[in-house]
Structures are given as structure tokens and as C-alpha cells.
Symmetry: C2
Subunit: 254 residues, 2 copies
DNA sequence: GAATGTGAACCCGTTCACAGCG
DNA sequence: CGCTGTGAACGGGTTCACATTC
């Protein structure tokens, strides 16, 4: 990659492990659901089940945030919701622009999960003049000529790229030049960005390929009952492990 | 999670690390691009740059597949494309169904990256009777009443869930009962599945929240020029590290 | 008694650095 | 001589298990 050496401890004071940060939204969602059902407290065990992790991991994660639980009791739901929200920076408003309003861009614009978490779709941008002015999810699409102005007028620091692969790098550069420092990239390309800009990548095709790998392996195992010793009759496919707990992809710096 | 203990070595014979598997599609994409430009060979350095990883990692990754390179020269592009495709199981045809044909489902149906990698959208399924028969991406939408039959008739083992969160678990159970063993879930819910079924999760809102966390941290650091010792003038925000190389989320077992 | 919080052990993945080979 | 392939060192994350606290 461009600048591999950047393992700067940065804010060593509040060093929350990346893996933990990545799970906080999961906990937050589970907690929000509990909150809506007016559940006052949860144990690490219950919450972990709801979030799909194990309880030891959850407790360790929370320990990085501070001691927000009560021994013998559990965690106060409302309090935790607040603490995690604050930690993630969701107590403030994040204006977001989506560039590339095709099916995917439209899906993102309509996605309810944004608004509910402090994200506000400040603008939709597309290169097609025919789209300009058309409302999508109640927001009029603007032409990409005005990208820089839109970013600046709205104080946008997070951009979503949902353009075709070919346009992504150029869009990315314009976003960055205009002041965007975090990018969520749906285009199947490796974006290169200067230091200080975060890029996260979501790639549908990659996810499917990973599934295919495991799927193939399952099929293979079924046939290859050669090693185990289990008699043919017992050659159930359920031996395949259901995916390890932590994985990685999705991210992609520089 | 439901069944944590499943760390079965399974195919210990061909044990390719998960982290490596997750990167193979990345390499494959870069290689495909090179192949289209008729580039005959690449060095680990070049390919790594194109894929956005460092060369040591790439070489280590390839070493798990076998010794496909030539010392002093590099890797044969075509040969590697084939080997990786085979390893990922992309040399065979994977019929896929997409359930939930809203904006997102439609975006997925139209996504070109599928067809090009051995995936074939075998059917689109939606619960809305009004959608039935309507073509999306050239494929007529079918009603979810027929889900089981569709799965079986097409020999589908991979399902994509793009329904609202509330419907996801029910759809998931029907898919699994009908024989699907790999699921790509776009609904913001934790799916619980029996052993032997793989679930991968893509969650837009989570990705944004992770970005927000880092974004907030950047802003905080800018202000807190208290510790470093660098004089005020040098308080550039570019100190923020551009995201670690490997991350995790996106996956979610049971 | 019940559940949190955490040091220590463990495991997986990354990086280093160089031996091995064309 | 160049670049691959890999053992060894390193580091982060997960799990264990138990002391701690309500």
C-alpha cells in the first residue's frame, strides 16, 4: 500500500481496539431494541446473545469504555445506549453525501438505518444531467458539477461512493479535495487516498466469493469421507463450521 | 452466538487461513484487470499495490495455495487467475436467489460483478404480490409463496436476503429449510441459523458508524494538541492514521 | 449468589528478514 | 542478481478463569 508505516498510536490515551469499535454498532443496535421494549437492564450473557457474540468478548469490549455495569446485576440499557452513542460520535449530526444515484445509491438514500443513527443525507449527487432535480427519497438529485460547493456548503466530512467502478477514483479525489475525510466505497475498486483519509469498502461480489469458497469446501468434505473414518452413512454436511467469529475484509486503506 | 465451540479444523489438509480467503477475491480482481490488458506476469510488489495490500502479505497468502510463482520473475497472470478461481470455487456455476426486491434487491440484481464471477441470479423473490411477474434486471420477480420450489428446482445453495429487518429471520429459516447453506444478509439483524450454514453480513449503517468514530477522533485530536509537544503551527490533522490494514466486521456467524 | 471486570494464556494474522532458486 | 517462498519474531484479539463487587 501507499504508506504502510502509519501505525501511529495516535490517541494512545483513549485506545479502543479496532475490533471493539467495529462491534460497538452491533451492541448499540441490540441495546436500542431492548430500550424500545423498555427493558431496564441486561446481563452480558443476554446482550451478547442478542448481538451475536460471546459474553466474554462483550465484557472485554465494554471494559475499554469504562466500568458501566453493576456486578451481580448487569448493564443499564439506557445508560449504555448513551455511552456507546457518545463513543461512536453519534450524538452529533453527520451530514453525508451520496454520489452515484443508481439503484444502489437510491437504496442507500432510502435506507432507514441512517437517519436513526445521527446520519443525515445532506445531498445526492449524480453525473447524469437527466437525473438533476429528480427527487429520490424526497431529496432532489444534484449534478456533480456542483460537488465541491455542495460539500462545503453542508460541511460534509463523510462521503458515500456508489458510482460505477470507472468513476470512483475521480469522484474520490474530488471529494477529498473538497474536504471529505471519510469515505464509504461501494464501487469495486481500490481507492487511493492521501494520509488522514479513511476509506471503508463494501463489496458485494467479494462477500459472495467468500461464501462460494466455503460452500465448495462443504461439498468437497461430503465427498471426501476418506480421512475421517466415519462410515459413509454418517457423512452429513453439517460438520462444516459455521464461519469463524471474526473476519476482516470490508476495509481498505490507501 | 449459538454454537461457539465450532472451531473444527475441518479440512486440515487444505487449511487456508480465513484472512487469506477474504483477500483472494481482491487479488483475483486485480489479476483479471491485468489479464484484460494482456500483461503476462506480475511481481508480488506490483500485484500487491494493485490490490491494496503489502507484498509480504500477498506472497504469504499465495504460499498457502502452492508455489505458483517463479523466483526472479514473478507470477504468471493467467495461471494465477485460474488457480485462484478454482480455489474459490468460481469455476463452477453458483445459482443465487435474491429475496426482497426493493431498491437494494434491484441494485443487487443489476450488479454486474455477479455474472462475471460464476454467480448467476437464478431467481428474484418478493413477498409483494404486485411485484410478481414484473421483470427486474430482465428477470421476472416471483412470489415468495413459491420460495421452496424455486430453491429446489434451481439447486440453489446461496441466498441473498435484502428484505426489511423484520422479515429476515423468517426468510432465512425458509431458505435454510429448503436447502440453502450460505446466506448473504443485508438486513440489519442478527440471523440465527443451524450449524453448517454460513452467514455473512453486510451492514451499511455499521460501516458508517465506524467511519463516524474515526472522524470524531480526528476532530478531537486536532483540538487536543496538548500532548505531542509539536508547536501549534504544526498541528496538521493528517496525523490521523489512515486506518489499519486489516479490520473485521461484515461477518457474523449464527 | 450472581454477574462484572480483567490479568494471563492462547491463537491467528502480520511483518520481518533472509535463504533458496531461477 | 531479482524475486519468490517461508521460518521466526511480533502484535492484536479472543478466550479462559477467577478475583472482585454488589
Amino acid at each position: 500500500m501507499a504508506t504502510g508505516r502509519t501505525h501511529r498510536p495516535a490517541t494512545r490515551s483513549r485506545g479502543i481496539p479496532e475490533a471493539t469499535v467495529a462491534r460497538l454498532p452491533l451492541y448499540l443496535r441490540a441495546l436500542t431494541a431492548l430500550s424500545e421494549r423498555s427493558v431496564p437492564t441486561v446481563s452480558s450473557e443476554e446482550l451478547a446473545a442478542a448481538a451475536g457474540v460471546n459474553s466474554a468478548k462483550l465484557r472485554k469490549d465494554f471494559s475499554y469504555l469504562g466500568s458501566y455495569g453493576t456486578r451481580g446485576v448487569g448493564y443499564d440499557v439506557e445508560y449504555l445506549v448513551y455511552q456507546i452513542s457518545r463513543e461512536l460520535g453519534l450524538t452529533q449530526d453527520w451530514p453525508v453525501v451520496i454520489v452515484g444515484i443508481g439503484n444502489l445509491g437510491a437504496a442507500l438514500a432510502n435506507y432507514g438505518g441512517f437517519a436513526s443513527r445521527g446520519f443525515r443525507v445532506a445531498a445526492l449527487i449524480d453525473a447524469d444531467p437527466a437525473m438533476a432535480g429528480k427527487p429520490v427519497a424526497g431529496i432532489p438529485v444534484q449534478h456533480s458539477d456542483d460537488l465541491e460547493k455542495i460539500i462545503q456548503d453542508n460541511g460534509v466530512s463523510i462521503g458515500v461512493i456508489a458510482t460505477p467502478a470507472g468513476a470512483a477514483q475521480a469522484v474520490c479525489e474530488r471529494l477529498v479535495a473538497a474536504g471529505v475525510t471519510s469515505i464509504l466505497n461501494f464501487a469495486p475498486t481500490v481507492l487511493s487516498v492521501p494520509d488522514g483519509v479513511d476509506v471503508r469498502k463494501v463489496d458485494l461480489s467479494i462477500e459472495l466469493q467468500i461464501l462460494a469458497f466455503h460452500e465448495q469446501r462443504k461439498a468437497g468434505e461430503e465427498a471426501a469421507a476418506s480421512d475421517g473414518g466415519a462410515p459413509t452413512a454418517a457423512a452429513r454436511s453439517d460438520s462444516a463450521d459455521q464461519g469463524p467469529d471474526g473476519d476482516m475484509p470490508a476495509v481498505m486503506p490507501a
